[in-house]
């Protein structure tokens, strides 16, 4: 039996063939599409940043000549490229192995010069190979090839060899020079010498050759020769500094697009008088995922199209542009009967038995409430009466609300029997439909999702994150997150024996979402000490948000966000927060000033991909504010002791018997939460 192909199995653009880059390409549905943002015809250099999997490589390879050629199949290639306005030369920096250019008993200045020379040869060779293929495939001839090649040869400061007469000969010469250089660099560790003659520097070839090509082909006078330099994070600081210098000193008709992960831009400095590149005048910056997150409807449409393009690979029936047409492949809460939902399954578990939320309340009342006079609970009989008023067999959500309200009364140090009677009255009015001004309506307006999730977890069930819309929201602006969820969903669906063209079952989605969340947490990690700290801190913040959300009286609804007081933080805490943001564990929501203060308090969301891992909601409403000591315990201190303490302090405020009540009661009372 031949396994059915999973159309989402390839999630990394680097693994795709040029044909797949072309056929899987999806543009955004806004005026001008991605081209308006990435501006491939603009000679202004651009740094394209983004979280892992945000689509940088796919975007840059889309602009590479090899893919330009494919999308113009059937048309006149030469005029198509002229009309696109650029010729894309795609270069991945890992191929250079920049770490070779250091140490081995040579000075930094020597390595800097050598690196710069190497880049000249490498870029020029790649550019000319692309150009030669372009000319050949366009059935064009170079009018005076020996002159063009001679002019290119003159770009060298000194003759490196016998002058070639053809473009191929010139490419061979560049390759030969580069290979000899490779050999010397690779053996420098043994020879301890680096006897190299540098024939060109400072962009002589990188900028000079495009000018000569343009002069040889007047039809290309407006064409931008676009160097697409991907995975810039593989350049160390020194290499980036050299390249930044090239960017600053760029000359028409050359353009640069630099692809780099959020954490990978090590410097903006140049060697031009030690100055930094100036954003706006010397380069533009595009942060792909942030840009997509800023336009949720654009991202939603983009993600739907992404999914449709892949699914169409295995489904013969045409999937229309209508969002419903694609969403209907995935069961979601709307397509399930109540009994099949996470809520329905949890409810079924307690038919005829007391719910854990009530049991826990009763236990806490018996153990603690009698110790505080203000609560006016004197006997077990009174506890039993309270419980009978709180229990509500007819509707477990109302019962959860009752519990919540009683805990709130406890927190406010109110007589609990009286409070329970009021809650019962409110509850009955609410159920009758007289909802206005009931505490239940107010609580459920904000906390319904949280109370439902608490109940599901109490029933030892898992929370559902179902349907394509949820997956898109979870992906948080990063296309690979979505593809990874869908890959898992599809894998499990196939394993469960489901038809690729039929509805994807709930069980396939449940497992896949959980796996994808775990995958994200592992995949986003960075193997540096800072990266490990960022992962630990993310785990802590997830754990804290989860503990608050599942406490007796959560302080905030739909909690997935937090803010920090930036000014007072130590350097390590700031660095870890910033790295966690660069690794996309947390997403910056907004920068706001605290009330009555000029102090900045940036707000962050935990990446929605982590919601299943910490049983958090996809939507985010409430936010907790972390004090300086809390932020430092979470992000600044690898030792878990201080984190455990601040977590415990927070939870004492949110779980009965509530530390505020204990303080008012004047008792020294240790309670394990």
């Amino acid at each position: 039996m031949k396994p059915t192909v999973n159309p989402f199995s390839l999630t990394k653009a680097v693994d795709l063939t040029d044909e797949q880059i072309n056929s899987f390409w999806v543009d955004i549905n806004s005026t001008g599409g991605f081209a308006k943002k990435a501006k491939p015809t603009s000679p202004m250099p651009m740094i394209i940043m983004g979280g892992k999997g945000s689509g940088k490589t796919h975007l840059m390879r889309h602009y590479a000549y090899q893919v330009q050629k494919l999308r113009n199949t059937g048309f006149d290639l030469f005029s198509s490229i002229v009309s696109e306005g650029y010729l894309g030369v795609y270069i991945r920096t890992p191929g250079l192995n920049a770490s070779r250019f250091r140490d081995k008993s040579q000075s930094q200045a020597q390595w800097a010069a050598l690196f710069s020379y190497y880049l000249e040869l490498w870029f020029a060779q790649t550019l000319l190979s692309v150009f030669q293929e372009f000319i050949t495939n366009s059935n064009k001839k170079i009018d005076n090839e020996p002159k063009l090649v001679g002019d290119m040869y003159k770009l060298f400061d000194k003759s490196p060899a016998t002058a070639p007469e053809t473009l191929s000969g010139f490419i061979d010469l560049l390759e030969d020079l580069r290979k000899k250089l490779d050999f010397k660099i690779n053996n420098a560790a043994f020879s301890r010498t680096l006897d190299v003659t540098i024939y060109a520097l400072n962009g002589k070839l990188i900028f000079g050759i495009p000018k000569l090509l343009q002069a040889a082909f007047p039809d290309l006078k407006n064409l931008v020769f676009l160097y697409l330099v991907d995975e810039y994070e593989h350049f160390d600081e020194q290499a980036q500094r050299y390249f930044n210098t090239l960017i600053r000193e760029r000359e028409f008709p050359v353009g640069f697009k630099i692809g780099v992960k959020l954490w990978g831009l090590k410097t903006l400095k140049t060697f031009s008088g030690d100055e930094g590149l100036k954003e706006g005048s010397e380069f533009e910056r595009l942060i792909l995922d942030a840009d997509l997150r800023a336009s949720p409807s654009v991202y939603q449409q983009f993600a739907l199209n992404l999914c449709r393009t892949r699914l169409q690979e295995v489904i013969s029936k045409k999937i229309s542009d209508n969002p419903n047409d694609i969403q209907k492949f995935f069961s979601d809460a709307n397509s399930l009967s109540l009994a099949e939902t996470d809520w329905g399954r949890a409810c079924a578990r307690f038919k005829g038995t007391r719910r854990p939320g009530v049991t826990s309340l009763e236990k806490k009342l018996k153990e603690h409430a009698k110790r505080f006079q203000s609560l006016a609970v004197e006997s077990d009989n009174q506890v039993a009466e309270i419980i009978s008023l709180i229990e509500f067999d007819e509707d477990y959500l109302i019962e959860k609300t009752n519990c919540f309200l009683l805990y709130r009364a406890w927190y406010r140090n109110k007589p609990l029997l009286k409070a329970a009677r009021e809650i019962r009255e409110d509850c009955l009015r609410y159920v009758k439909g007289e909802r206005a001004n009931t505490a239940h309506a107010t609580v459920l307006d904000k906390f319904e999702g949280d109370l439902r999730h608490q109940f599901i977890i109490e029933a030892e069930h898992k929370i559902d994150y179902l349907g394509l819309e949820s997956f898109i929201a979870m992906s948080h602006g990063i296309a690979r997150n979505l593809l990874t969820i869908l890959r898992g969903v599809y894998d499990w669906s196939l394993f469960y024996g489901e038809e690729p063209s039929a509805l994807v079952s709930v069980r396939a989605q449940r497992i896949a979402v959980e796996e994808a969340s775990e995958w994200f947490f592992q995949d986003a990690q960075h193997q540096s000490d800072g990266g490990k700290n960022a992962a630990i801190a993310t785990d802590r913040i997830g754990e804290l948000l989860q503990a608050i959300r599942y406490s007796d009286k959560p302080s905030e609804c739909s909690l997935r966000s937090f803010s920090v007081e930036w000014d007072g933080l130590d350097a390590q805490t700031r660095d870890t927060i910033e790295l966690a943001e660069k690794l996309s564990f947390i997403i910056r929501d907004s920068e706001r000033k605290e009330r009555n203060s000029a102090r900045p308090t940036p707000k962050f969301q935990l990446n929605r991909m982590l919601s299943p891992r910490y049983r958090l909601p996809i939507a985010s409403r409430g936010s907790i504010h972390l004090s300086i000591s809390e932020a430092q315990a979470i992000f600044g201190n690898p030792d878990p002791t201080s984190f455990k303490k601040i977590k415990m302090d927070r939870l004492r405020e949110l779980n009965a018997p509530f530390s505020s009540v204990i303080k008012q009661g004047g008792e020294i009372y240790e309670f394990e939460f």
């Binding site: 039996m1 031949k2 396994p3 059915t4 894998d491 499990w492 196939l494 394993f495 469960y496 024996g497 497992i511 796996e515």
Partner: protein, 322 residues
């Protein structure tokens, strides 16, 4: 005790990966579910029995087409060709050239016949075709047992009078008895006509026990499998590799054995833990050996058993339907 949901999920995830990578999609979830439904609480609670079944399934080995092809190459290259070349070199002493060795090897090969063990339609015969293809052997070197002989002037003769090597290929020898029974008469005929002819038996797999039994086959010079299954591959042996993930003084193993034996006996009386009580957990791309636990493969009517890696049984002709 194996009973947690988490463990079930972990095993199912592993099985899913195995299914899509090595099992060639033979065990999708609906097949697994039908198979698990065989376990209905005859020994322990149904859920417990099914967990024992899953525990074994996530360790089950399937040798697909690619792996079998590679093993067939191993048999020819490592078990036959290289040792023969080594023997030729030893015989030549210090005066040898590559050409001389090549020439002698080719001569030896011309007087070699490769045979599938068993009757036409059995797995040995099935493998010999693929064996020839993947080792680029001339068609003339592949034979069946009867074609080794001619009958002229009222007596047995060898079709290749200078026959020097006869190699029997098979997929598995579990107990060794069946292979021994099949080999003995053929070897005896060959040796009677040409005592110096060397006889080899190369199964893809053989248990240590089978190798010992086969060593007692008169006239068999070499018995060597591509992969020897030592007692660790026997599911419920003291050294079994299948219970290393549970550390409970053998309680899980004992319980698992009780379940598999009870169901195994109910469908395959007298061989509840596999023929020759081999207790294997493996299947091939072309068939599942009967030495594997029957709960995995039993596929015969009228038993209402849903196998997961069905065995194509050697059904005898029923005179009633002729």
């Amino acid at each position: 005790m194996i009973d947690s949901k988490e463990l079930q999920h972990k095993w199912l995830t592993k099985i899913k990966t195995l299914n899509s990578t090595l099992w060639n999609d033979r065990a999708k979830f609906p097949v697994i579910q039908r198979w698990l439904n065989n376990f209905q609480g005859a020994v322990f609670e149904r859920e417990v029995e099914q967990m024992h079944a899953l525990h074994l399934l996530q360790q089950f080995m399937v040798f697909g087409e690619v792996e079998i092809h590679e093993l067939l190459k191993v048999i020819y290259r490592d078990l036959f060709r290289y040792p023969l070349i080594q023997e030729i070199r030893n015989n030549l002493g210090s005066n040898f050239t590559a050409i001389e060795i090549g020439s002698r090897y080719n001569n030896a090969l011309l007087n070699t016949r490769f045979l599938g063990l068993g009757r036409a339609g059995e797995s040995g015969q099935h493998l010999i075709y693929t064996f020839r293809q993947f080792n680029n052997l001339p068609l003339d070197l592949v034979s069946d047992a009867n074609s080794l002989f001619t009958f002229s002037n009222g007596k047995d003769e060898l079709a290749a009078p200078m026959l020097s090597h006869v190699v029997f290929i098979d997929d598995i020898s579990g107990s060794g008895t069946q292979a021994k029974d099949r080999l003995t008469p053929v070897i005896s005929r060959i040796k009677a006509l040409r005592p110096e002819c060397k006889i080899y038996y190369f199964p893809l797999f053989a248990t240590t026990q089978a190798i010992e039994v086969l060593k007692g086959t008169p006239g068999l010079d070499v018995i060597k499998p591509a992969m020897e299954l030592d007692p660790a591959y026997s599911c419920y042996h003291d050294k079994s590799i299948y219970f290393r993930d549970v550390n409970d003084d053998g309680q899980t193993m004992t319980a698992s054995k009780a379940v598999m034996q009870a169901y195994g006996e109910s469908i395959c009386r007298g061989n509840g833990l596999g023929f020759g009580e081999c207790q294997l957990l493996l299947s091939f791309h072309h068939n599942t050996p009967d030495n594997t636990l029957p709960v995995f493969w039993f596929n015969e009517q009228p038993a209402a058993w849903s196998p997961i890696f069905p065995r194509h049984p050697k059904t005898a002709i029923n005179p009633a339907i002729l």
